[in-house]
């Protein structure tokens, strides 16, 4: 018999209760169980960063955490950033204005990496920005406009 475990997870401020198999990855839980498809799945071994979410406020790979481990914990996904469509999070707004994306696949993971980064480091140098982005692969942009977007976001948020 496959083991199923009942979990209660707070995602973007809302509580969800589900029965899950232990082997279900948190990334797949968010996408398939909760329909929050903003969290993207790239490599599934922690290299690409597309699935980055906030786990109790800190950026982590949701493909390297099992959904059962999120029981009782607080998750924020990219869907939790904007107030609504007309009021984006300042980081999202900056990516829009500075054209910090092309295909957009890596963008949610990058945004979720940047939220705690800019909180801890409100006035980053370009070197610090590039270092912070090193755990998120983007194959379209060459990173230049992403770096510009982060600088703009830091300005907006100061």
């Amino acid at each position: 018999m496959t083991q199923r475990i009942s979990i209660t997870v707070t995602v973007n401020g809302k509580e969800f209760k589900r029965d899950v198999e232990p082997r279900l990855l948190l990334s797949d839980f968010l996408r398939h169980e909760l329909g929050l498809t903003g969290t993207h799945v790239g490599c599934e071994h922690g290299v690409c960063g597309a699935c980055t979410i906030l786990f109790n406020g800190e950026s982590m790979r949701s493909c390297l955490i099992f959904a059962v481990q999120a029981d009782g914990q607080e998750i924020v996904t990219v869907e939790g950033l904007a107030v609504d469509q007309d009021h984006l999070h300042p980081i999202q707004q900056s990516f829009w204005e500075a054209h910090g994306l092309q295909c957009g696949y890596c963008t949610p993971g990058i945004l979720m990496t940047l939220v705690p980064f800019l909180k801890q480091n409100p006035n980053p140098t370009e070197h610090e920005i590039r270092h912070a982005l090193s755990g998120n692969l983007c194959r379209c942009t060459g990173y230049q406009h992403i770096v510009d977007a982060v600088k703009l976001a830091a300005e907006k948020m100061r």
Binding site: T2, Q3, I5, E21, P22, R23, L25, D28, E44, H45, G46, G49, T52, F55, E58, S59, M60, R61, C63, L64, I65, F66, V68, Q69, T113, F117, H131, A132, S134, G135
Partner: protein
Amino acid sequence: MKPASFEYHVPDSIDQALELMHEHADEAKILAGGQSLVPAMNFRVVQPSMLIDLNRIKELEYVRENGECLRIGAMTRERILEFDPLIAKRSPLLQEAAPNIAHPQIRNRGTIGGSIVNADPAAELPVLMIALNARLRAGNTSGERWIEAKDFFVGMFTTALEPDEILLEIEVPFIQPRMGWSFMEVAPRAGDYALMGVAAQVTLDEVGKCTQAKLVYLNAGDGPVDAKSAAQMLVGEAIHDELIDSVANMAGDREINPFGNVHTSIEFQRHLAKVLTKKTLKQAIERAGGNQ
């Protein structure tokens, strides 16, 4: 890919975890931060039939002082090493090396104990444990024991732990006056596995003679490589550039045994080891108060 199915246990205390390991040592694997284990499970390189998750055991997450040593709980996150003021004061080598461990998102989840027990020859923490003369406390239901770091890493991804033992704590001696340190590595991109890396530690006496030296290398063999002969060349000497060159050659040509990989030839790893030995030694000597 997705992991194969497994049975999941999440104990709330060390005692419960030890009890579970006692019952299921043959089939169970410990889940610490999971930043190496889960990728391996996603690829089905490993398919444990049971996981015992230590993430609820809060009594395994701490950094504290005990006599002349730091004690760090095995489930302490790697990220803590970068920001904890006690680590900065008592073990600046640990603090300096920490940002080299993968990416911040990985260090937020990955644990110190997990990386040590994983015993990846390319990982930073096993090398640091040897460089710092750390001791590791492991337990099972029959009791606990301390294992010296130099006896802990017995081969590639292999440690001295018994199948039912869990690593509980690491102990790192405080840095001492006139002791200098340095950690450097070369990786293709920030956060990648390093092609080569070195942890160096030297102690100088009042007249600038070396009384103790340690040089430990990552990705340089089937475990952390402690270049004892190279380090011994420094002891009793007033260190100068020519001596540093000979030490670097001894370590890079004779003592390390790198395998090469898709990113680097063995020759290039030896070259990097020599360059990094010189750089880390010079920095460590400077920090120890020497004149280099």
